[in-house]
Every structure is written in C-alpha cells, then in structure tokens.
Subunit: 217 residues, 2 copies
C-alpha cells in the first residue's frame, strides 16, 4: 500500500464513529502501534502501554461503563429529539450511536499512561497521587489516529471511560501505576473521510505578544 | 513540494535541537499552524492558541527563563563532564545546547491551552484552578511536529518553561484563562533526520487483559 501524504491525511481526518464489525488484521494493528510508539516523550521515557480489547465480553463490559459515563456527562438524550440540522447535533448523535454500540466495534484500543514520570516538579504534579502523563500519551494517540486514517480505518479519541476508570482498570487488571487515559474505538468506517470544520488558524495566532495578530515585517 | 508519506515522516521524526538561525517564511509558519489546528478536540472546542515569538528581546527573555528552569530541573551540568558515549548523554548535551542558545532559534512557538474546557467532571479537574486542557493541546502539538518534519524543519517538544510560567505569561500578556503548555523551538536543522530509538511495541501491548502479551487466535 502506498504511503499517503501527511497533509492529505491530516486535512481529512474526521472522527469516525459509525464503524463496521469486520475485524482488524493483526499486521494492521501492529502498524498502528508502531506509529504510536514513534511519538516523542520527555527524556524518551515512552510512558505508555496498550490494551487491545477484542474479546466480546470484555468489550461489552467497557461499553456499559462508557455508556453510563456518557449518560452522566450529557444527560439522558432522546435520540428522536435531536435533529440533523447542525454539525454539533450530528456529532452528538454519532457519539451516542458509538456509545450504545461500542461493543460491536472490532477493536477498542485502551492507551494507558504511566504515573511515575520524571517531571514531578511541574506544578500540577506537586501534590497527591500523580496523574498519568497526559502530555506524553497524547502525541502517541495522535500518531495512532493519523495511522488509522492512512490505513483506511475509522477512529475517534474518547475519554468518557474515565468516569468509571477504577472499575474498568480492575476488570482489565491494570496495575495502579498506570492510568487509563484514552480509549480509541477502531474499525473500518461506514462513512467517508473528508474536510473538517475548524477555526482559521490566523484567528488563534499572536505575534510576540498576546493581542498582536498581524505578522511582523 | 511533494506531500511526503505519513509513515516515512513518523519513523524519521527525531527531536532536532541544533538549529540554524535562518528565518521561517510566513507561508511555512501558516502551514504548520494549519496542520496543528486540524487536530481533534472534545466537542471540537479547539482550546488552543499560538504565540509565534520571533522578536530578539522577547526570545532572550524566554530563553533566560527556560534555561533557569533547565538548571533547576537537572542541576548544574558541566558540559565538559558529559561524554558522547550514550544516546542519553548526547540527548542531554543537545538539550543543554538548545537551552543556552534558544534565543538564536528563529521561531519559538508557544502553544497555549484554554483552562475553561467543558469536561470539569474529570477527576483531575474537580478541585482548584483548572489546569489547561493538556489532552486537547498535545494532538495539535504532535501535528505541528509532524508538519515541521514534512517541511524540512527541525523542532522539539519542550515544557521546562512551565517552571517560570507566570513570569513568561506576564511578559507575553497571556490572559489568565490560558496556560502555556508547550514551547516548540523551530528552525532549519543542522543535523539529519533519521531512525529513532524506541521500545518494540509488542513489549508494551496487552490483549484483552493486562499481562496477556500474545495476540489471540
């Protein structure tokens, strides 16, 4: 398979939440994980680990906890009451679709983050139980999402499992020194990749000091 | 310029800390920022903003704070006492090189993260002043690093400015609702891109439950 262009990939990387049930071949999964582990991390600590969840009963357990989290976070939506007239509503509808059918997705990839990372001097880690190294894990997650798109797989970045993280960690047998940072449901997409809606970067960019939004010179 | 392959980019994306002083053309910077803003974020909130620092006096201010942070974090190294015999030592030496010459780098790109993000139900945000949305900002950062590599620019992901974040935020005039999450020094590299050293993904991958490291079936 040809190696598709980076910018072409980035500019068509829609979150794909409606996925087919066809399984993911092992060699494809291996390629996703190789891409993830190429990400940079502080002092090359690589503080991540992966759980590839494909067993039906385990997927169902995770789906139920995830869906409970979605209902807690967003309230009890009635699918019938959500229209199709805005991007936000379409996204919400797709998110609910995924939440209720996550156990039918062929691969739930849990990306774990190690807690005992070296930079305990950072303000957010000075007290209490150290959180997982979110910063270090997300570049790895983004590489996996880009690799999915390159290989024709649909995926989305989800975090709502964290509302029931302790129960899921117990079920999966994850040791205490790892947090369950991101859950990526992966499958061949039913829809098509395409352009995505974003704020123009110029509106978010400042030059030398905040508020100067015209490039110098 | 041809759009280079995604996997080729990922597998040769070394952190580049020795950089030339040649300026970055505005159209190249625009392309980096466009890549960054393609990243996904929860409910498409895009909670990031950029400060492109190119003014010599502002770069010098940031360099001094950054270098002070490096010295606090790693102690006072003597460059002479660090050998060249291990990758770790080479990396440390390059990090010190960058820290002491950061004001000579043509572009210091500060990636800011908005604090008032929607998911205050996550455990790490339940108390105190909300941290910036690290999770949301890092996929954007990774896209920028990949775009740098694709365009022949050297870059590295740094966070040590956070040890003096308040002073830098004041100098740059950043409002309180944004944190200074990642600082990316960017320039044309003196060295060459190439393969990077990583743990084989199979050693970090579990199937269905932690400890099962053989794929099923």
């Amino acid at each position: 398979m040809a190696d598709p262009g980076l910018f072409e990939i980035m500019f068509s990387l829609r979150s794909m939440r409606k996925l087919k049930t066809d399984p993911i071949p092992q060699d494809v999964l291996d390629k996703l994980l190789a891409a993830g582990t190429q990400a940079p991390s502080g002092q090359n600590t690589q503080p991540w680990a992966f759980i590839a969840i494909q067993d039906p009963a385990t997927k169902k357990f995770v789906q139920e906890k995830y869906d409970a989290g979605i209902k807690e976070r967003f309230g009890k939506f009635s699918m019938d009451k959500i229209g199709d007239d805005t991007t936000e509503k379409r996204t919400t509808k797709a998110a609910l679709h995924l939440s209720e059918r996550m156990h039918e997705v062929p691969l739930l990839l849990m990306v774990c983050g190690k807690r005992d990372w070296p930079f305990q001097t950072l303000p957010e880690n000075r007290t209490g139980k150290a959180p997982p190294n979110y910063g270090a894990v997300y570049p790895c997650v983004q590489n996996i999402l880009l690799a999915c798109r390159a290989l024709g797989l649909g995926a989305s970045l989800t975090t709502t499992h964290r509302l029931h993280e302790a129960e899921i960690a117990e079920r999966l047998g994850v040791p205490d020194d790892y947090g369950l940072v991101v859950l990526i449901p992966i499958g061949y997409p039913k829809g098509k990749f395409g352009p995505i809606s974003r704020t123009p970067p110029a509106e978010l960019t400042h030059y030398d000091s905040w508020g100067t939004q015209t490039p110098p010179g």
